[in-house]
């Protein structure tokens, strides 16, 4: 997914005046609703009753897994629903979910899932393989406007069906052999397919409920409302007050209900992150969705154990248009990349705890930690630039950094402009354009340097490295290397072991970094506050919480 804005730009500090008032209001609301004692905070009462108070950013747009797209929705939906496969809460490796086991054919294209006999919907209905066939059929209805329909495209004929080339859904590669057995046929081996199954666009939905409140491809029907929503996950929806809270309680029909420790989760939408931080300090939240950038250093200096900074599956980078004469020489591209002082940039400008990136793929993507010999080396950069024919930046052609109009992007561009001026003595101008114009210019190749960001859709280096295939839709640099394409398209999928696959990716990554059609700048991070009583909530690169594993326990001191 293309990232429009910088998650941690400093735009958040505007409404501090009204936020005092809002905080007060929210506190009263929270106090009033939970009915706890006057002096007892949510956190301490929640720790006794097993209620987790979760700061959830904004009000969700929808709880329909085939319509929702955002992070706040993701949190709630992953508490309510479950796919065939779960992710390990630490390593994110696939674990059995609704499917207790699965077989993959040798050629890697046919998956046969064995569903649990004990799988039930939250109203007690039996949860069967046919539910998936119907849900995925619904996910592929163009009228539904599912932005994540492409997540299903690895499935055979799914794309053709979605685009109307095929009208008969039985030709799509998903079949319920019996109530307990689901067979999925893919177009080609897709090693990350199991991961996709834990994405909410592939979650099952309850057919009878949806049809009770409208047709299958109708948006915004009442089926997701409290009292209506029937789900298959560890929790069920019991209360939804818009802009106030969403409450979910443990689902007694869940197949693993005995191992779910939390009784209740209260999702509180707080858009103002300054307010959210205050509520956390007042003991009204167990977990916040983020933290204002200027507070991070304060928490860091205090060595606060409640602060959590974890890498996130996204990379902020600059594209270099290799079709422009000055960037045809890889030495020039490398020189630019080597003269960016990433550490200073993230410490002083972005200030969101971001991690300097020296490779395209974020570290820790499915156990993949890219090696890179890229480092901040202004001297070496100057030498490379001189070798390429621009000693001391002399004669360097007019070059512009293109970015979409946004305060965060502007700051980074201004800082880089000066770094390149200082370290390489090249004059680079800035050019900002409105989002759509910017996308146009980028796709048309009408730029020299442009800023970019990529957030992974699934945890696999493939998701980052296949961006730069020849002529790829998100490549846009004009860079094309047949050997690279061969590694990503042919060699990597042919490797059977995970380790061998990662080695191929490392090879491709090294190739990419030597040629340097892009300049990696930083890895996105999730910054949040987590109360010490929240256990089994591990930081991971997807910022995905496994609510069924979380329990609350006050540390004995």
């Amino acid at each position: 997914m293309i990232f429009y804005s910088d998650k941690y730009s400093t735009r958040h500090h505007f409404k501090a005046l009204s936020s005092d008032f809002k905080a007060l209001l929210l506190l009263t609301i929270v106090f009033g609703l939970t009915g706890c004692g006057n002096n007892e905070s949510n956190v301490s009462s929640g720790n006794k009753t097993g209620t987790l108070y979760w700061g959830n950013g904004t009000e969700p747009q929808s709880l329909d897994p085939q319509i929702a797209t955002g992070v706040p929705e993701h949190h709630i939906i992953s508490a309510l629903m479950e796919g065939l496969v779960l992710k390990d809460r630490k390593t994110l490796e696939p674990r059995p979910g609704v499917a207790e086991s699965w077989d993959i054919t040798k050629n890697g294209t046919v998956y046969t899932f064995k569903l649990r006999d004990s799988a039930r919907w939250s109203n007690g209905d039996k949860h069967i393989a046919q539910d998936y066939v119907w849900s995925w059929w619904r996910a592929l209805q163009p009228a539904l406007g599912n932005l994540y329909a492409y997540m299903l495209f690895p499935i055979k004929n799914a794309q053709q069906y979605y685009e109307g080339d095929i009208t008969d859904f039985s030709e799509v590669g998903v079949k319920a052999i019996d109530d307990q057995t689901l067979q999925v046929t893919l177009n080609y081996p897709t090693p990350y397919f199991l991961q996709l199954l834990d994405h909410y666009s592939l979650f099952p939905v309850h057919q009878a409920t949806i049809e009770k409140f409208g047709t299958a491809d109708q948006r915004g029907t009442r089926w997701t409302y409290e009292g209506n929503l029937v789900s298959n996950g560890p929790f069920q929806l019991v209360d939804w007050k818009i802009n106030r809270r969403i409450v979910v309680q443990s689902n007694p029909y869940y197949w693993d209900a005995n191992n779910v420790s939390l009784k209740e989760i209260v999702f509180i939408p707080i858009e103002n992150i300054v307010t959210e931080e205050r509520m956390f300090r007042a003991g009204q939240l167990h977990v916040t969705s983020s933290l204002p950038a200027d507070k991070i250093s304060t928490y860091r200096e205090a060595n606060d154990p409640e602060l959590r900074v974890a890498p996130y599956l996204g990379t902020y980078y600059y594209r270099l248009n290799v079709r422009k004469p000055q960037f045809q020489d890889p030495r020039v591209r490398r020189a630019l990349a080597m003269s960016v002082d990433r550490q200073r940039l993230v410490d002083n400008i972005t200030r969101g705890g971001q991690i300097p990136a020296y490779a395209m793929t974020p570290p820790g993507t499915m156990g993949y930690y890219p090696k890179s010999d890229l480092k901040f080396d202004p001297k070496g950069a100057r030498r490379l630039l001189a070798e390429a024919g621009y000693p001391n930046g002399e004669g360097f052609p007019a070059t512009e950094i293109l970015y979409n109009t946004n305060e965060g992007h502007r700051k980074i561009a201004v800082a880089l402009q000066e770094m390149w001026k200082k370290n390489l003595n090249v004059d680079i101008r800035l050019l900002n354009q409105e989002w759509k114009v910017y996308l146009n210019s980028e796709s048309a190749g009408e730029y020299e340097i442009s800023r970019a960001g990529w957030i992974g859709d699934y945890v696999d280096p493939n998701n980052f490295l296949d961006l730069f295939l020849c002529g790829g839709g998100n490549n846009r640099t004009g860079w094309c290397n047949e050997e690279y394409d061969r590694l990503i398209l042919d060699v990597a999928p042919s490797k059977s072991s995970h380790k061998e696959r990662l080695e191929v990716f490392q090879q491709a990554e090294t190739m990419l970094l030597n040629e340097m059609p892009i300049i990696p700048i930083y890895t996105y991070t999730t910054v949040q506050l987590v109360d010490s009583s929240v256990k089994n909530f591990d930081a991971n690169i997807m910022n995905a919480a496994s609510y069924k594993d979380i329990y609350l326990q006050v540390n004995q001191e």
Partner: protein, 289 residues
């Protein structure tokens, strides 16, 4: 009146200066403006730092002895940035307004004085240009001619003259039937001389007031265009842009907003005082003593 006709016009300016020099506020305004313009001209020589020299490790710091007005988040000296910003802002303000003044006064005076079909045609042209969304007009100009700071001045001026033309025209229409114009006519003065010598000086009051209003709005317009990527680009800056950025961080680093704000307001005050004084001084209808 008799003096004005006899005295070759120069007496008007002489009188005006005498009247102006008695107006303390106006003189203060004039002094401030001259100071600002001088500072702007000399900035490359007297600025304490480079306007693009960053010090990321230092970041935003409050005013201190080293940096009198503090530094911005890139560690750039604010005093320097305001001085350089003033060059752009004052230049935009004066040049764009001058362009608007020249076109507007001539257009309005000609249309108003001759009236009839010529007036109708000229004012319809103004109406058409008015109806054109001015952003699109400026964007078109910039797209066709490229991003160039001089062009930015012209583009803004080319948009701002419309109101000026209307004001002048209405003034002229009121004036052209007055006795002193008839007298000038009967004395055989050419129409151009009448416009130049008698009509335009009589319209100066509202024109000056409107000019003092145009200069600040032009400065803000420049900031807006620059923000959209059509005006000047970082690391260069202007007061409007500095204020724009200052607003973003006004809670954390208030000095980034306050000082450019002071610079802009000071200019506007000075312009207003001077404009008021000039209006009084230049109005030929006020008595000489």
């Amino acid at each position: 009146m008799a003096d004005a006709i006899e005295g070759h016009g120069s007496s008007l300016w002489k009188d005006a200066w005498i009247k102006l020099s008695k107006n303390r506020l106006a003189l203060f305004g004039l002094a401030v403006l001259i100071m600002l313009i001088l500072t702007s001209l000399l900035t490359p020589l007297i600025a304490p730092y480079g306007y693009e020299t960053q010090n990321l490790d230092m970041g935003a710091t409050a005013p201190s002895l080293l940096h009198w007005l503090g530094t911005d988040i890139f560690g750039r000296d604010m005093l320097t940035r305001i001085m350089y910003g003033g060059r752009v802002s004052l230049m935009v303000g004066f040049i764009a307004t001058a362009v608007a003044l020249v076109i507007g006064i001539l257009w309005g005076a000609i249309a108003g004085f001759f009236g009839g079909r010529l007036d109708a045609v000229m004012m319809r042209i103004v109406d058409v240009l008015y109806a054109l969304p001015f952003m699109i007009f400026i964007i078109l100009l910039m797209v066709v001619f490229g991003r160039n700071i001089l062009l930015l001045f012209l583009a803004i001026g080319a948009v701002e003259w419309l109101t000026m033309a209307r004001i002048v025209r209405s003034q002229v229409m009121a004036l052209r039937n007055q006795e002193f114009v008839e007298a000038a006519n009967s004395l055989g003065l050419s129409q151009w001389t009448i416009i130049r010598r008698h009509i335009i000086p009589n319209t100066l009051g509202p024109v000056i007031v409107y000019t003092t209003l145009t200069i600040p709005s032009v400065m803000l317009l420049e900031a807006f265009l620059s923000f959209l990527g059509l005006g000047i680009q970082p690391p260069e800056s202007s007061w409007g842009l500095l204020i724009n950025y200052g607003v973003e961080t006004m809670e954390e680093f208030p000095w980034l907003l306050i000082f450019p704000g002071i610079a802009l307001s000071l200019t506007l005050f000075a312009l207003n005082f001077l404009g008021d004084g000039l209006r009084d001084a230049l109005d030929p209808r006020t008595s000489k003593d």
